[in-house]
Symmetry: none
DNA sequence: CATGAATGAGGATTCATTCAT
DNA sequence: AATGAATGAATCCTCATTCAT
């Protein structure tokens, strides 16, 4: 049941964006009565939150899986493969990505995303801190913040804005960006 | 009068975010009757649009001014000074930045922002294309896209998320990021 | 519920005319929340339309019933009885009659009325066409148009304007009008 | 000035009907400021009232003029010529006729029309009362009421509904209607 | 007189939420 | 648990009218 509601919520979000996201529409899409929504969710915002949480979780798991395959391998290949996995994950559902990134009201909604970003940053910082041969930046935490955010944002914007770069070009540039940075 | 309304609109946006932005609230904040709004603006969206347009214009002008002071100077100093100006511009009103970046419904609103970003990218591409001594990347347009987006996003996130980086650190990292990238 | 709303709509229409007919007033008169109106009617106009449709239907049914009782009987008695039934039907609710006839915005509202009038005309034309002994006019369709409209309008005006004619006088004059016409 | 306003009022009424008739629209059409309206008219309704009064006056004068030309002539020709004049008068501006007849809110608006109808009825009653050779009906006042209303309404409906009758047919039927009635 | 900016009550409509069944 | 009718506050917007200039 929760399943049906969350899926319906995702659908509505994807199909028409957040400004037409109403509890009635979600209930209709889930083929459930409006009242039933409130047996599983305290309010409208929490439905959105769960949709977003799931999306963030799925995405981060996809990236984490790719990463764990390559974790032993240092250097450019790892950056490229990770970015590749991130792109692939984001390309699964650009419409939902757009809604999550550009349309959602703040609040509890972004909590999960922020949390994941922090985790990733900490992982990256630990990683960089332990490998001075590939990271010449003095502050590993700062470098991780820069690196993670830059890659994430470039990936998102590339998926959403479809600029004049091929996917391979993008990956090349990302590798150059990170490599150049960490070694300077 | 237009002034009062726009200022009230900005205030409401800043104080409570877009989801409480109602014409009545704007009218009250401007100490004006709801009807008067409609003598100067065709609808609610256009009030938001003007607030955003102004904000984007002011911000880009501040950055453009800083840039024009340093335009003759190649290299790291220029990156740093531009990023510095951008940070300063964004720090003027973080709350409004948050609303513009994260809460506004799509549409005409993002049009102005997108447009400015395109202009900046074109400028940067031209600049990079003409200076092979500081730019070793093969595709100037791609490099400009990467560079502009990375800097913009890092600046915005730093202002909004207040991470554990000092302002100077951030600027150092940005310079390293761009320099390392362009020369690799 | 629909019942309550329609009845409240009729009441508001009758008591204060169309220009004070607001959804809020109807809701209040029905002792129902404004929102409930929209679970049964798509908009304000459709509430009016239902009130009018009902009124037109009731009225035409009353007349049709009277007519079917007398349909075998030719001549003056039939005219008189039909007119009598029409008067009785219109006298049920003169205030609503006034609103329907004189105040309602055009559109779907008049559609139903026009439709009924056409039906009646066609019936009358067929009737007249088949009975040359009581109808000497050359064009049965034209005669039906004249006859139906004249009787309808005289009945309505008599009910609304309360002129110096007794009900019986009116019926006498109507019979004379139609009889004289059809035989000339 | 009053002239300009009334003419603008008539225009608005004719072009878009009563439901778009707003003081602002009238002011704009008259190329006058909204405030100026209130120097010559106490409120919106009184503008409508004057437009209607004028229309009724013009129309009745046209008919009266035709009638005074034929006043000496008894019988069918007079009915025909009068009806002809009425039709011609109504055909001048069917759009305004529709608005006046079908769309206007009640009240002071219809006062002038009612008044004219009464005058005409009294004239007709006096006329019929004095000419027993053409009027066999026992009650001249009643006969006048019937006759005037029937002709008026048939003329109006013919102009507004454009039924399947030629103008000449209509006049023939009207003459037959009245003649048959008065002699029966 | 004329203006027209300003007013603000009121309009139609939506939708998150509740609650009796 | 599930329903879905009912709610009613809140939304955007209009327009007859006023009044300072």
């Amino acid at each position: 049941m929760v399943e049906r509601i969350v899926e319906a919520g995702r659908q509505v979000l994807v199909e028409d964006g957040y400004d037409t996201f109403s509890t009635n529409r979600v209930a209709a899409a889930a083929d459930v009565s409006p009242g039933s929504l409130y047996q599983y969710f305290p309010d409208k915002a929490s439905i959105v939150a769960v949709v977003v949480d799931r999306y963030v979780d799925e995405t981060s798991e996809l990236v984490a899986a790719a990463l764990s395959d390559r974790i032993t391998e240092l250097g450019p290949a790892m950056v490229r493969d990770t970015a590749d996995a991130l792109l692939a994950a984001l390309e699964r559902d650009p419409a939902l990505l757009r809604v999550v990134y550009e349309e959602l009201p703040l609040g509890r909604t972004h909590a999960r995303l922020t949390q994941v970003e922090r985790q990733v940053r900490h992982l990256a910082a630990a990683y960089l801190g332990a490998r001075p041969e590939i990271n010449h930046r003095p502050d590993a935490a700062a470098a991780a913040w820069i690196m993670v955010l830059a890659i994430e944002n470039l990936a998102v914007r590339w998926v959403l804005d479809r600029p004049d770069l091929t996917r391979d070009q993008l990956l090349d540039e990302m590798v150059a960006l990170i490599a150049g940075y960490l070694l300077s």
